[in-house]
């Protein structure tokens, strides 16, 4: 039986999103904590069961590859929401759209004039020695100067209660469908609680995404034909691809459904070929066009890059955007904001050591036990070393990796990720959380109210990725 006693809620030294020191609720969490205590432990477990049933019935799944087979797993969800004050969130949202504007200026600059290198804000070799620069994109000017139209940044809150940007995901960030589904589940599970709060709605995201994509269309005389390009049902995010297509009323296509003729893109329909204007692609650059990138790709569309270069099709995010999705480039974002926008960064970066630089590398190699070492170019939490938790052999292995390929590694101080009360088995415990808001940029820009809160659902774990045992929470932006 769960015992709900906030006075004895464990203190971990991390910032807790809902419970302050001595078990006093954070300003906006009063009603929530009181409500939960009033429900009692057994009713709370009943609600959790109801949520599981709703997830099963709504078919909310993600796919994991395991033991040589693809398995559809139910989406792991913790029913206790996370609350963020609206006044705080407004600042974060401004910071996110500022960041994305600067990143888009940077990408445009890298593929065109390259002022940032000439003005010595950033060394050119950092870009050209990494594998993310695409010659095929040089000289392009996508509509509205926007290359990255959909960005899913990862934010964390440290011990001091301050939000930091952990990384900018500019390639094919996923998770937004789960953010929306989490709210639907909460509405089913705690209808009476939602009524007592003023929570910013999030349901307009698909409409905002549609508007963003529509604003990219090369044809202004006709309503744009928008498609979502998926690698297919075995992709871990297939549920999300189908969900977004359904919500936007767009076609969900695979590479084989598209064909390029005379540098225009068409989809094969029962009426014949129908011209496509905007592709929201959920496959990586190197699979987009077997003529231009990987010849063995069966996922892409031969000739797509040619059509894009001619301006006959918009692709979101634009090919080549990955050049800015790199933990080394990340370290320069504050400088980019000052350089391109002439503004001060509203959201801080984490201090980041670039192993590329000899002085910083020496520092990293000397302090491996205190730092988190990350490969510059991986996502999903793979290939990371958490210094204090690593044994001697692992540290030595990473020292070798860094020395062999310094450009590919960065190091950051170990964070004390904030926590939020979470049901683990039959206990209510503080579990570490992060936050992935989604930022859009086309003709206009938009930031989701909140985002997807991911939670490490193993005791003491810091890993929030769903592929590695993480779960999620509904996130409320609440007036106050």
């Amino acid at each position: 039986m769960i015992n709900i006693d906030w006075k004895h809620y464990p203190q971990t030294g991390s910032y807790d999103e809902l419970v302050g020191p001595d078990g006093t609720p954070r300003q906006t969490a009063h009603a929530l904590l009181e409500y939960l205590a009033g429900l009692g432990g057994s009713e709370l477990l009943n609600r959790r069961k109801a949520a599981e049933q709703a997830i099963r019935a709504m078919g909310i799944t993600f796919t994991v590859y395991s033991d040589g087979a693809n398995i559809d797993r139910l989406w792991p969800f913790d029913i206790i929401p996370r609350i963020i004050r609206a006044t705080e969130w407004q600042g974060v949202a401004k910071g996110l759209s500022q960041r994305l504007r600067a990143l888009n200026c940077f990408i445009e600059d890298v593929y065109n004039a390259q002022h940032i290198f000439r003005d010595k804000i950033m060394p050119a070799e950092l870009i050209f020695e990494a594998g993310n620069y695409r010659q095929a994109c040089a000289g392009m000017h996508p509509a509205h100067g926007a290359w990255a139209h959909i960005c899913g940044s990862d934010l964390v809150r440290d011990r001091d209660g301050q939000f930091y940007v952990l990384e900018d995901n500019l390639r094919v960030p996923s998770g937004v469908s789960y953010m929306l589904e989490n709210r639907r589940i909460t509405k089913r599970v705690f209808p009476e609680l939602l009524a007592s709060y003023q929570i910013a709605p999030i349901g307009e995201y698909p409409a905002q995404l549609f508007d963003t994509l529509a604003s990219l269309s090369p044809r202004s005389d006709e309503p744009p034909e928008i498609v979502v390009l998926t690698p297919g049902i075995y992709n871990s995010a297939y549920f999300e691809h189908a969900f977004l297509a359904q919500q936007m009323g767009a076609e969900l296509v695979e590479g084989g459904d598209l064909v390029v003729e005379d540098d225009y893109v068409y989809m094969r329909t029962v009426k014949g070929l129908v011209r496509v204007d905007v592709i929201y692609r959920r496959i990586d650059d190197q699979f987009l066009d077997p003529q231009r990138f990987r010849a063995d790709s069966a996922l892409g569309v031969p000739g797509l890059m040619r059509a894009w270069r001619k301006g006959n099709i918009a692709i979101a995010n634009a090919p080549g955007t990955g050049v800015a999705d790199d933990k080394v480039v990340y370290a320069f974002v504050p400088a980019m904001i000052r350089y391109y926008l002439d503004e001060e960064p509203l959201l801080p970066n984490l201090p980041t050591y670039l192993c590329h630089d000899p002085v910083q590398r020496q520092h990293v190699l000397g302090h491996l036990g205190e730092l988190v070492v990350k490969p510059a170019n991986e996502s999903g939490g793979y290939g990371i070393m958490i210094g204090p938790a690593a044994n001697k052999a692992t540290r030595e292995k990473f020292a070798e990796l860094i020395t062999a390929n310094p450009r590919n590694y960065v190091a950051q101080p170990v964070l004390s990720l904030s926590t939020a009360p979470t049901i683990l088995g039959r206990e209510l415990l503080p579990c570490h959380v992060d936050l992935r808001p989604f930022t859009l940029q086309g003709a206009a820009s938009y930031v989701t109210a909140g985002g997807l809160t991911r939670v490490a659902m193993r005791r003491g774990s810091l890993v929030v990725n769903s592929s590695q045992g993480g779960g999620s929470k509904d996130t409320w932006i609440v007036a106050g």
Binding site: A57, I233, L252, G256, D257, R268, V270, K271, G272, L273
Partner: protein
């Protein structure tokens, strides 16, 4: 709509219909067994002929005993004719077109597949078999009922309905073939005494008995049953009625000129048949011919809407 999606919906329709009809076929064969005295094992091997999987069965399962045949048709993992395979294919097709189906439909297909896979072994015993088969038929009907009533009757729906109409016509012709097998004189000793029971079971297998009785005021006899199942324009499992549904669906789809022409030829082929004459000689050959005609409709659907070669930019109509 995308050609790939159209094709998958079409096959989803076919596999769901095939599941329902295969369950009916096994059920009616078992009922017939209980009614007919004498040498009845032969009925089980004839079931394999109807489903066109005699050779495949022989490779995998040996003698055509009741247990072997039922096991093969219900649960065989690789047989193209088994319930489990049909449902696996239905499920795969539904999974890839999830975004155009009502969300409950995918879940129903999924449940149906899981329950058949788990329950098939249990259903090998005569005691549990009929319950199991009835449940499968009912769940299939629940699914098609949901689709009819919750999907807009536009292109995606028409491709589903083409799938189930063609499959249904095909299966009705196969079930008629069972009757034919006995009526054609191959086993006159069985038939002579029990013609009435045989044709009654043919009707029952298609839930057609009551509708037939309301329509035909004669004692149940071969010629009337064949006429009813071939040419009745109002009973949904009658072939003429299936062809009518196909014609309707074609009419709602783009580029339908050739498919409509082929379909009308098949309509004429069915209208021309004289059941009483056929019953004396040539019904089996006639039904074989009908199955080939249905296959022609299928290929016409394929070339018109599914294969990319048939399309060109010039065909763009928006």
């Amino acid at each position: 709509m995308l050609s790939r999606v159209a094709e998958r919906l079409y096959w989803l329709g076919r596999y769901v219909e095939r599941t329902e009809n295969t369950a009916r076929l096994v059920g009616v064969n078992a009922q017939l067994l209980l009614d007919l005295p004498g040498p009845v094992e032969v009925l089980w091997s004839s079931l394999l002929e109807i489903l066109g999987c005699h050779a495949d069965f022989a490779r995998h399962s040996g003698t055509a005993s009741e247990r072997n045949v039922v096991k093969y048709i219900l649960a065989h993992e690789t047989s193209p004719a088994s319930l489990v395979s049909a449902l696996r294919m239905a499920r795969e097709n539904a999974r890839t077109v999830r975004e155009v189906l009502p969300s409950e439909a995918w879940e129903l297909v999924n449940q149906l597949y899981l329950s058949v896979r788990e329950g098939a072994e249990h259903a090998l015993s005569r005691k549990h078999r009929q319950d199991f088969l009835d449940r499968v038929v009912l769940q299939c009907q629940q699914l098609s009922g949901m689709l009819v009533n919750t999907m807009s009757h536009r292109e995606p729906y028409h491709f589903l309905s083409l799938g189930w109409s063609i499959e249904r016509a095909d299966m009705t012709s196969r079930i008629l073939d069972v009757g034919c097998l006995y009526a054609s004189g191959k086993h006159p000793e069985v038939l002579a005494a029990h013609e009435n029971i045989l044709w009654m079971n043919v009707l029952l297998s298609l839930s057609a008995y009551q509708m037939y009785r309301q329509q035909v005021r004669e004692r149940v006899n071969g010629a009337d049953v064949v006429a009813f199942l071939l040419q009745d324009s109002a009973f949904p499992h009658a072939i003429a009625c299936c062809l009518d549904a196909i014609e309707h669906a074609f009419g709602q789809l783009p580029h339908h000129r050739w498919p409509l022409l082929v379909n009308r030829e098949v309509v004429r082929y069915v209208a021309r048949a004289a059941p009483d004459l056929l019953l004396n000689a040539g019904l089996h050959e006639y039904l074989d011919g009908l199955q080939r005609e249905l296959a022609r409709i299928h290929s016409q659907i394929e070339t018109t809407w599914f294969t990319s070669e048939a399309m060109s930019v010039a065909a763009e109509t928006g």
